[in-house]
Point group: C2
Chain length 305, copies 2
């Protein structure tokens, strides 16, 4: 028999939302997801999108508290949850939650804030801060950089539950833009996952690590390599990916310590980052993204009780 | 009375073509342009596009020699003009010309080769090599870097008419991609040429000069600055432009000498590059792009006679 749902945890991103039923003991009773990400909803549509997912996780329809992290709390989302400002203790996330009103009384929703940085380089995050709190809870005492690869990679300097500073690298988005819209697209049409991809990736990563200040100049080598050396699309895609990741990692190498860098993201992407960290004499360890977001939401909820 | 056209000079780019009638004494008798760039034509359409422009420059319809530089000589253009390989003497361009056949006997066309680089970073250029030859002819004895800002900026190390090496920076294309397609577009909608543009440009250029290895991380500051400090679209556009140009110039600063760097490109863009060079303790001088391409085509033609 399934454990009763005591509350609901939600990670509400720009393109989709993921929700979990949590039992009284903290067990996950079930999960559900929806394509109704923040980017697709107007303000008034959030309650119905949430109710729809809740009905799947708890068909009994009993009243439930819901704790939400991510883009639902953005200014253009459901209800703005003002940023905490780094440096800050992520155990403060719960205290910063906002409570949008639901049209019926069944669900009670709270949205966690994101974190901003105003000194030492303006930056913002929404969603990642909850993953970072979860990581801090699951790896007590960890101090050092955490890397969260993705469309907009986040690099945060953690000291226990404290976030000291962070920065965003537009690596994933740039890869997609260049692949889809730039002159390099001509060299990236065809089979991108062929046998040349690994070799291209290593060459690009080495170039990025060796000359991070010359990214603008190295990008065009994808095109020149295709024209002059007949580089195939798989090699070119690997080179571009490696060049961008190598450049990103080189920008942080001065702050990478002896401990493996926790990598929070999709498993294939984390493997690529771990490989480049190793090429640079460091190392990474992949952390399950779902596990840390759940741990973060649980910790935030515990602080709100 | 207009001087008789002795031959025709053509700069045939991807998006358009520009042509000049040249008199026996070297005077420009007239100019014409067409939207029929290489990128819009299939191989068989080049002769008619050329004849159309020639008829405007020389209505007499007498037989004419035409010397062409640029993308008409690309593999996907009219007829491939195989690259010269750098390092090379640009006075060799004429000897590398190819001669496509014209359907009627009125025009006799020759297309100059581009230049490629295989050692020390694969790269290619088509069109810029002719401008560089023109610059070398107009500034005899110049040795040092030449910067050609644009969609794909070229930086070439010249020693008289000899091109030692060169590299391409995808600066202009990246600006357009980020402005049009990336998450930064949200911060770049509205009046981009407002009074905040200069201030944003200076801030971005300084960031690029200070931390060229952190371009991926600095880009997102455009978005964060709009969210946190209410930066207006003009400031954001200036910051992005400055950041990219500052990063590009920083990558070359080790090779910039005491002499002003010749800047070949559009006047407004050259002014921005000159400003950032000055911020970095160097200087630039704008060179008229039409003047050098004409000088290059004339020098190449003289070598072919």
């Amino acid at each position: 028999m399934t454990e009763t749902v005591a509350w609901m945890a939600v990670d509400w991103g720009t393109s989709n939302l993921r929700a979990w039923g949590i039992g009284a003991s903290g067990t996950v009773t079930g999960s559900a997801s929806s394509e109704k990400g923040m980017g697709k909803l107007s303000g008034v549509e959030f309650p119905a999108a949430l109710a729809e997912v809740a009905a799947r996780l708890d068909p009994s329809g009993s009243s439930l508290e819901v704790l939400i992290c991510g883009m639902a709390g953005a200014r253009q989302g459901w209800m703005e949850a003002p940023y905490l400002e780094a440096p800050t203790d992520l155990r403060q996330l719960g205290a910063g939650a906002v409570r949008p009103t639901m049209p019926d009384g069944t669900l009670t929703a709270a949205i966690l804030p994101g974190v901003c940085q105003k000194q030492g380089g303006e930056d913002v995050m929404r969603g990642e801060e909850t993953q970072l709190l979860g990581l801090a809870v699951l790896s007590p005492g960890y101090g050092g950089l955490v890397c969260m690869p993705g469309t907009h990679s986040k690099w945060a300097l953690l000291d226990g539950t404290r976030i000291q500073r962070f920065t965003t690298a537009m690596t994933g988005e740039l890869f997609d833009l260049l692949k889809t819209h730039s002159v390099l697209r001509h060299s990236l049409q065809g089979t991108l996952d062929g046998p040349g991809r690994d070799e291209g990736f290593s060459a690009g990563a080495q170039d990025g690590l060796d000359a991070p200040g010359d990214l603008l100049g190295r990008l065009f080598r994808v095109r020149a390599g295709a024209l002059l050396s007949g580089r195939e699309p798989d090699w070119c895609a690997g080179y571009l990916s490696g060049l961008l990741i190598g450049t990103e990692i080189a920008a942080h190498r001065g702050q990478i310590g002896a401990e493996p860098v926790p990598l929070i993201g999709s498993a294939p992407l984390c493997r690529l980052y771990a490989k480049v960290l190793e090429m640079d004499g460091a190392s990474g360890r992949t952390v399950d993204a779902t596990e840390v977001v759940l741990a973060g939401l649980k910790a935030a909820r515990a602080s709100m009780e």
